[in-house]
Symmetry: C2
């Protein structure tokens, strides 16, 4: 199993970061504008991605497995690209030096393929988007996300 | 062993990307301004990092193990933070859709610790810096790199 793990700090209270990870409105401001579902434990959230032209790309379906206020969130991927299904997305929050530290993980990939390398860069730019949203109110969710290669 | 692997595309000829990875001047424009050494196979390159205040942070010493024109570069880390020594940094280049595809790797970490998660985000912003340098002439090498957390 292989993992993408990124560490980033956000200069805002931990409550604001947790809110951005556990509300449909928050999620829509940094990952993709097209979010539907319910963020409670046991429920599912659908994240859909479209090109700027409007062409559909993919829907990632995440089942919320854990959500501990101001501490952690864990999703299990139950729909999306073949190599995403069965993986886990984790957010661990803590406080240090007056900042909120986020350890982001996209874990348990079956193999470290080229698509995983693409997703590693994409998650990094989405982490910058999350930070910008929480710190300034404006992120760069899809379809206005930073494009990093010929795939997206 | 754990690996950081990022995929990015650069809208410039592969020769320009290879040059940015294999000349002291090129490296100084996207990773750190403080680069010394020789980029030939078997030789060593010292990359030093300072805070904006001028305080010294670290020197990473890379031994060039492979350098195949317009195809790949591999460095072995022989000096730097404890968890970097013995790791490998790789750059694999190819062409697709009229773009240069770069698969960047920082491989063979002994454990996937929190510092590796920090470095994963830092390498992502340095890949964006490399792309900006090759595409526009201006990157964001240290000490003007994007800061991503309370460590750097």
């Amino acid at each position: 199993m292989a993992n993408i793990i990124h560490r980033i700090a956000i200069k805002q209270p931990i409550e604001k970061v947790y809110q951005a990870l556990t509300s449909i409105n928050g999620l829509a401001h940094w990952w993709t504008t097209e979010v539907q579902g319910n963020t409670n434990v046991g429920e599912k959230i659908d994240f859909s991605f479209y090109k700027k032209t409007g062409d559909f790309m993919a829907t990632m379906v995440m089942q919320v497995q854990e959500s501990v206020t101001n501490a952690c969130v864990r999703w299990h991927c139950v729909g999306g690209p073949d190599d995403w299904v069965g993986t886990d997305v984790t957010f661990e929050l803590s406080e240090q030096d007056g900042q909120t530290i986020l350890i982001f993980g996209h874990r348990n990939w079956r193999e470290q393929n080229e698509h995983m390398a693409h997703c590693s860069m994409k998650w990094a730019v989405f982490m910058l988007s999350l930070r910008a949203y929480v710190e300034t109110g404006t992120g760069k969710p899809s379809p206005d996300d930073v494009k990093i290669d010929n795939w997206n």
